[in-house]
Symmetry: C2
């Protein structure tokens, strides 16, 4: 019988696991949040991922549980594990992707380079941190943020008073130094429960308005030293946190040549979409292999350069329509991936990968194809 | 709303359309022959493709009808077309893939190079053909043959008497000269209803026991002349027969440097599986683009060499099991594609693609990975 992998969450990450699951012969099943989700084709259940009974019923029919997102509550995950369900990544690893304060404390224990940071509970705390770090900082809510939400640059002690007012007993905000970075990078690593690790080339990510806009793989002008440091950071975190599945480590490269950890994601990640068409083993296939404890695939690039550009929803519907036709017609080399989502301004509804021997050509093709959807 | 493509037949060719359909945002629906077919994930109906009512009901919910195989009867196809259903390839083209005598006659009209052939209705007819062609020939039943079935080499006039005895009124067998070929090739072409054509590199196919065993893309030592002739034959057939979707033309390369048409298939074909990992646009994606009348994708190879080796079922089950683990572990570069079919000796249950700069390395990797399943 085929191995059954259950994915909690029906978004585009679950959707993009479907293609490699079919080829690998994995029976993929999705617990979707509602009807008509991005991963609808593989949805076998609809329900609330915060409800233990719902998740338990879903898990009963699969061999491994994994995720489209990191929002399943710890108590639900721990109950599954206690009942003998294989959950990858497991709750002990996933908590560090769920809570940024826990993540900072753990990375400090591991000696992983990261920005200066503190847990702050009041404007006094925040003021003290700002005074010690050049008068500016980045305040983050430890939980629930994504794509720039729950993140704010502050330059005054009262700059997060509205967030402090919402803290419960024992809760805190995270404040980090405003890192003088020259660019952002991402390092992806896959790790199996049995310990095997596969490391992807470090890539450059370009953010716009707090959202990933473009990825260049591998990161241009990334010498051996940079690649080695990024790889070592990724491996140390994957092993130190006991990550199973794909791990994405978002990194700052500073103007004084340091590499600092920005954020973590324990699942396929936007910074790894390039690998679908640009690496021997795409991140969605690799995630399935890793969580199913199958041998990992090769991570070598398939071309000198791969460029990924996100398609952000415009006013029109972004499924098969005139714009899709025009993009395909003008760019037969572009690999267009759609998420089956209704288009809304700024919403990620797809992405384009372009590969080639020339970086400028790949950048042009990916941007030009994606621009048809603006 | 997403474009709905309905595939008649639930075999591995329909299955392998699922992955690109998801990425293109095409709503793929399959009319399967039964439960648990290879393309089960996309099956929305189960029924007999020879029954007009069944096929009509399936077609009512899709925008385009296409096929996993060529066995849907002409009368069913013509009824659909008469009712306004978009069917690709249409019955006027598909008849030449359904009936080898019709195909030979039509290719003769088009002036396409092919073996000497005749329609024969008796041992006298056959004896006369053999006498004129060196005493040997290949007898084929015009309909229903595949993977070497319905094909027989004969060296005596009574060599097909059992088949003659089964002919109905007006029916005949096809006999062809035994071509002195040095190797077999395949040329794939995609054609849209609106006329756009995309041509793949010509490949070498290696048959064992009448079944495709390996494919090397592009065909080694295929000079510009060979590639041009094969391409022109493919285009002439696609246009001359009005093919829509993927067309595979199986070719003989003779010891006197002729290229002769052996067989046709109007769907994705085993000789094109290499393109899933070895071409910018795989044949399953291209077939969907073509039948949906979307702009065709680039057909350029993604590596100097791609080698495809079929996995034929052995005595064990060939889904995720120890052999799968061993193959993946030993060959992290190999792309293994499984069909979700129970393993039977000689049955195609999957294939392996390997790409690279060195042909010998790619051959080794693909064969070695596939050999784990023997």
């Amino acid at each position: 019988m085929a191995l059954r992998v259950g994915v909690i969450g029906g978004g585009q990450l679950a959707r993009m696991m479907i293609a490699p699951a079919v080829e690998l012969g994995i029976d993929i099943r999705v617990l979707a949040e509602g009807d008509g989700m991005s991963a609808q084709l593989a949805a076998t259940a609809v329900g609330d991922y915060r409800d233990l009974a719902t998740v338990r019923a879903f898990a009963a029919d699969v061999d491994v549980v994994t995720f489209d997102h990191e929002h399943v509550p710890q108590e639900v995950l721990r109950a599954l594990v206690d009942e003998g369900v294989a959950v990858h990544p497991g709750p002990d690893a996933l908590r560090f992707a769920q809570d940024k304060l826990d993540m900072r404390a753990r990375l400090a224990d591991l000696g992983v380079p990261q920005p200066e940071w503190a847990a702050v509970r009041s404007s006094d705390d925040l003021g003290a941190f700002l005074a010690a770090h050049g008068g500016a900082g980045v305040v983050k809510t430890p939980r629930g943020g994504y794509d720039g939400k729950g993140v704010r640059v502050v330059r005054a002690a009262d700059g997060a008073d509205d967030w402090f007012a919402q803290l419960g007993p024992g809760e805190a905000l995270l404040v980090e130094e405003l890192v003088p970075f020259v660019r952002e990078l991402a390092q992806q690593v896959a790790r199996r429960p049995s310990g095997q690790i596969a490391v992807y080339p470090v890539v450059e990510t370009v953010q716009r308005d707090g959202v990933c806009a473009e990825v260049i793989a591998p990161a241009p002008a990334a010498g051996d030293r940079l690649a080695q440091v990024a790889s070592e950071i990724g491996v140390r975190i994957a092993e130190g946190l006991g990550v199973t599945g794909m791990l994405a480590v978002e990194l700052f490269e500073t103007d004084d040549e340091r590499i600092l950890v920005n954020e973590l994601a324990m699942r396929p990640h936007n910074s790894g979409h390039w690998s679908q068409d640009g690496a021997v083993t795409g991140q969605f296939e690799q995630h399935l292999r890793a969580v199913a404890d199958l041998p990992l695939g090769a991570t070598a690039p398939r071309a000198p350069w791969t460029v990924m550009v996100n398609i952000l929803g415009g006013p029109q519907d972004a499924t098969i329509d005139e714009r899709f036709d025009a993009a395909m017609s003008a760019h037969p080399d572009a690999k267009i991936h759609t998420y089956g989502k209704a288009s809304r301004p700024g919403r990620k509804v797809g992405h384009v990968n372009a590969t080639g021997d020339d970086l400028d050509d790949a950048v042009y093709t990916a941007r030009a194809a994606a621009a048809h959807f603006d």
